[in-house]
Symmetry: C2
Subunit: 131 residues, 2 copies
DNA sequence: CAAAATGATACCCATATGGTATCATTGTGT
DNA sequence: ACACAATGATACCATATGGGTATCATTTTG
């Protein structure tokens, strides 16, 4: 089981790099070595974060990406939601239809509790913490 | 993200069914309707649990599977380990080699903490709880 | 010896994942 | 005006994974 896919892993590295840098605006080209990610892939990832409102972007010469919030206001949860969708431990929707005894399912209830606590854990990890 | 794959989901249903039944030995054929899983698939799954020591099995006419321990001694963690491998949130092994700054990675440390707490949560859910 | 069960494998299909390529658009500097 | 440097948007591809089926071997009972 993977909590984070590569997109999120790469995004963390990139955002930490950006938080460390003094310059506000950073191009993909200038961070790709330190982040260690193929450039086109990193671009795609950062574009998604821009769409999610976590980054600013400026096109053209001298452009690049910049954090749209302070590092302590960007959490692991934000990145995961933007790049791999909302956290849902119990995929009790099989074949497009709900499991028959969805309402009474004890497993589901237990998982929801676990899910909630896990969610607040990942909301507690910020880019600031990882710099 | 999925915490449980279908194997585990199906296994939970099957083991709960077995825990509820009075008979010790139960054949796949006799539980497939209530569990709602294709027979050959359920067989494969229960075979894995047998290999993991969670079930007994008896071949031949009148045979089947039986819980190898009391329901309160079988946890969600046992099923997950047997059917989808050990819980590891941080797959920091990409392309067969470790991430360069494995030792100093702050993200890794945070994830390990989360992983530990998650692990004890799933160790706290037993088949008994779900009957 | 037939029937009923599991053991062990091999296979298949659909989807998700990781990654690349291409062209359009926008901004800067000369 | 124009070249160049950057992101925006898509389309594409290769591989891995997940969910499921099929087949044959083995064991036990009656």
């Amino acid at each position: 089981m993977k909590l984070l896919n590569r997109d999120v892993d790469y995004a963390v590295r990139a955002l930490v790099f950006m938080a460390r840098a003094n310059k506000p605006m950073i191009s993909v080209a200038s961070m790709k070595e330190s982040v260690g990610v193929p450039r086109p892939f990193l671009r795609k990832t950062l574009q998604k974060l821009h769409q999610a409102g976590l980054l600013h972007s400026i096109k053209g010469k001298g452009g690049g990406f910049a954090l749209a919030r302070r590092p302590e206001a960007i959490t692991l949860s934000h990145l995961m939601t933007a790049l791999q969708g909302p956290l849902k431990l119990n995929d009790c929707v099989f074949r497009k239809k709900l499991c028959a005894n969805h309402d009474t399912c004890l497993l589901r209830r237990r998982l929801e509790g676990i899910e909630g606590r896990l969610r607040s854990e990942i909301e507690g990890v910020t880019i600031r913490d990882l710099v």
